[in-house]
């Protein structure tokens, strides 16, 4: 796989907004038929990175290659033309418009000539219904407003739209964050299917449990820079989680939680157990008092 030309490659990409360094020195490769999970906490730079990938704003510095060729996007339309489809968190769906109108928004099929050129509604309705059926959502009526669909279904319309229009790279921005367990699994299954169809998928999330089953590799972002890319074989779910949240923060949280438990047990007079993690340092009496007060 490493001998292939990556579908998407970023080399030392920086993005600055005035004096704010949103991204610094990001390098990443994604191949066709591969799911790359972009993980990071809030404010890590995930959104800026995908906006750079999808042509919303060009990088301040660094190289960005699509299929081995340098990409110079100035608008989302350029990225679309290059086969990079992004499903944004807000889905680019308009609730009051019909499923068909949304599905073909910006790329409506037409018949007729000159001033009589019109949208081919028959064809459009049929395709919208077929594409939805392929992903296991049977649409009762393609003219119903998208607002009548559930969140997971809307997500699937957005993804199906991107795939239908020949996306080679699919960027999904937090596709499962607002979904219930069952709906999230529908979306995850669809991501796996897109990979099987040979698409390069970049899946942005902060939910490791959603990312881990479908991912081939993880790139971790923290405060605008990359902590590195890891193949799935190399890391466990816990390690990913640890790196993402920042091991130190989690450990100190562990220590604090252990402290709660201990004071709890002390007040009940039960025997004290050694359970604090090795990284836990003895908290000062002052922080204990604060914690007790807050508790």
């Amino acid at each position: 796989m490493s001998t292939q030309t990556p579908m998407i490659e970023m080399r030392g990409v920086h993005k600055h907004f005035g004096s704010v360094i949103a991204l610094s020195d990001i390098s990443m490769k994604v191949h066709s038929g591969e799911v790359m999970c972009l993980l990071g906490d809030n404010g890590a730079g995930k959104s800026t990175l995908i906006k750079t990938l999808s042509g919303v704003h060009p990088p301040t510095q660094g190289e960005f290659l699509v299929d081995g060729r340098p990409a110079d996007f100035t608008s989302p339309a350029d990225a679309l033309d290059a086969g990079i489809a992004t499903v944004f968190q807000d889905l680019a769906m308009i609730p009051l418009m019909s499923i068909t109108r949304n599905f073909f928004m910006g790329r409506e099929p037409t018949v007729g000539w000159g001033p009589f050129k019109r949208i081919d509604w028959k064809y459009a309705d049929r395709v919208a219904m077929e594409e939805m059926a392929k992903i296991g959502i049977d649409v009762r009526d393609p003219t119903q407003p998208v607002g009548t669909l559930s969140g997971g279904e809307r997500q699937c319309v957005a993804i199906a739209r991107a795939v239908y229009f020949g996306a080679k790279v699919l960027i999904l921005d937090e596709p499962t964050s607002a979904l219930g367990v069952k709906q999230a699994s529908v979306v995850l299954r669809y991501i796996a299917k897109a990979r099987a169809d040979g698409l390069a998928v970049i899946f942005i999330t902060h939910n490791v449990h959603h990312a881990y089953p479908v991912a081939d590799a993880f790139t971790l972002l923290k405060r605008g820079s990359s902590l590195g890319t890891f193949r799935k074989e190399e890391v466990s779910r816990e390690e990913v989680l640890n790196m993402m949240a920042g091991g130190a923060e989690l450990e100190s949280l562990d220590a604090e939680l252990a402290e709660f438990q201990r004071s709890d047990q002390e007040s009940r007079g039960s025997p004290r157990k050694a359970h604090a993690s090795s990284a836990a340092t003895a908290p000062s009496s002052r922080s204990q008092a604060r914690l007790a007060g807050g508790y």
Binding site: P76, A77, F88, L96, M105, I119, K134
Partner: protein, 370 residues
């Protein structure tokens, strides 16, 4: 597989056979069509025998409706596209002056003056649109600015060039002009003559039919409504209008040229305001700085009665047209029934509120259950 699944879905057991009534109810223009039927029924009882529903009377209220309808259709497209144009009314006055000054003061042929006015109006529309998409300011503010700028120009320019704010003498310039018939006179005169001859239409003392034909304004109204409806429902551009008004970022992200759509819509409202101005100038034979006052608000009322959502993304041109019809029927109905015309505005305001409440209700229904 796809063929069979499509077939299965087309007779999906969960798809209740929606009655035609329910389907009609979920159309944005339903309220306006029902309202128009209601007011016509109301006045045909209340104003029976007053001459409102004679051929002459009907042409009267159709002409009033047509004038408003011409600008309401454009305002509807713009509002569906997510923007307002408060400068429509001032544009009417301004465009009228731009026709009259060259034609009367400088002796241009009328067609040249008309083309000049249309070109200027399209430019103003483009500037309006360009400012809105460039600055990101609400169009309410930008066009409010132009409401005053254009009104000021409509007063200042004729004073500067002619010393007056009213310019007459248009009728004299109309004779033999090739472009003038597009904005003046009637259509189907021979048909109406024939109707009168076979006794289907009343004649006046001179033996001419009481109605000489369909006023050209009505033809413009119907034509523009048909065009706008075709664009909205049938074309790519129409889909883009809905998309821009629904969510301009979403539209942009899927490649809709949002700025182009919006600027085009602002140019279209300016165009329609100029059509209104041309019709009025040639009908009355004069241009006046104060023409078109408050027409922008009347247009917005017609559009909202027609079922459009103030925030954009939803509405219909047919609805706006029927909104204008309601307007015309009520205005003339009040005149014919002899009710003090002061009450017209009370009715108008109440109508607006009822329409908005009703349309909100319909839209909610459309989104929750289908």
């Amino acid at each position: 597989m796809t063929a069979t699944s499509a077939k299965q879905m087309s007779d999906d057991e969960r798809l209740k056979k929606a009655s035609p009534l329910k389907k009609a109810l979920s159309r944005p223009e339903f309220g306006a069509v029902a309202g128009a039927i209601l007011v016509i029924a109301f006045f045909s009882v209340v104003a029976a025998g007053t001459g409102m529903f004679t051929a002459r009377g009907m042409i009267n209220f159709l002409e009033v409706s047509a004038q408003l309808g011409i600008i309401a259709v454009a305002a509807a497209l713009l509002m569906i596209g997510g923007e307002f144009d408060l400068s429509i009314g001032s544009m009417i006055g301004f465009a009228g002056i731009l026709i009259a000054i060259p034609a009367v003061q400088y002796g241009w042929p009328l067609w040249a003056a008309l083309l000049f006015a249309f070109a200027s109006a399209l430019l103003v529309g483009a500037i309006n649109g360009w400012l809105v998409v460039r600055t990101g300011l609400p169009s309410f503010i930008v066009t409010l600015g132009f409401l005053f700028i254009l009104r000021g120009l409509a007063i200042g320019l004729p004073r500067l060039f002619t010393g007056r704010t009213q310019i007459g003498g248009i009728h004299e310039t109309m004779a033999g002009d090739w472009l003038a018939p597009l904005f003046s006179g009637v259509v189907g005169a021979s048909l109406f003559q024939w109707l009168a001859e076979v006794g289907l239409l009343a004649t006046n003392f001179a033996g001419n039919p009481v109605v000489s034909g369909i006023p050209v304004a009505v033809v413009w109204w119907v034509g523009l409504t048909a065009l706008a409806t075709w664009v909205l429902l049938g074309t790519r551009f129409g889909n883009w209008i809905f998309a821009c008004g629904g969510d301009k970022n979403a539209a942009r992200n899927v490649g809709v040229p949002v700025n182009l759509v919006k600027i085009t819509l602002f140019m279209f409202t300016a165009f329609c305001a100029t059509v209104y101005a041309a019709l009025q100038v040639m009908d009355t034979g004069s241009a006046d700085s104060m023409r078109g006052m408050l027409k922008e608000l009347e247009a917005i009322i017609a559009v909202v009665i027609g079922g459009a959502l103030l925030t954009g993304g939803y509405g219909s041109a047919i609805g706006a047209s029927f909104g204008a019809l309601i307007f015309g029927v009520v205005q003339m109905g009040i005149f014919y029934t002899g009710v003090n015309t002061d009450w017209f505005q009370v009715f108008l305001g109440a109508m607006l509120l009822v329409a908005v409440l009703f349309n909100n209700f319909v839209r909610k229904k459309a989104l929750e259950a289908h």
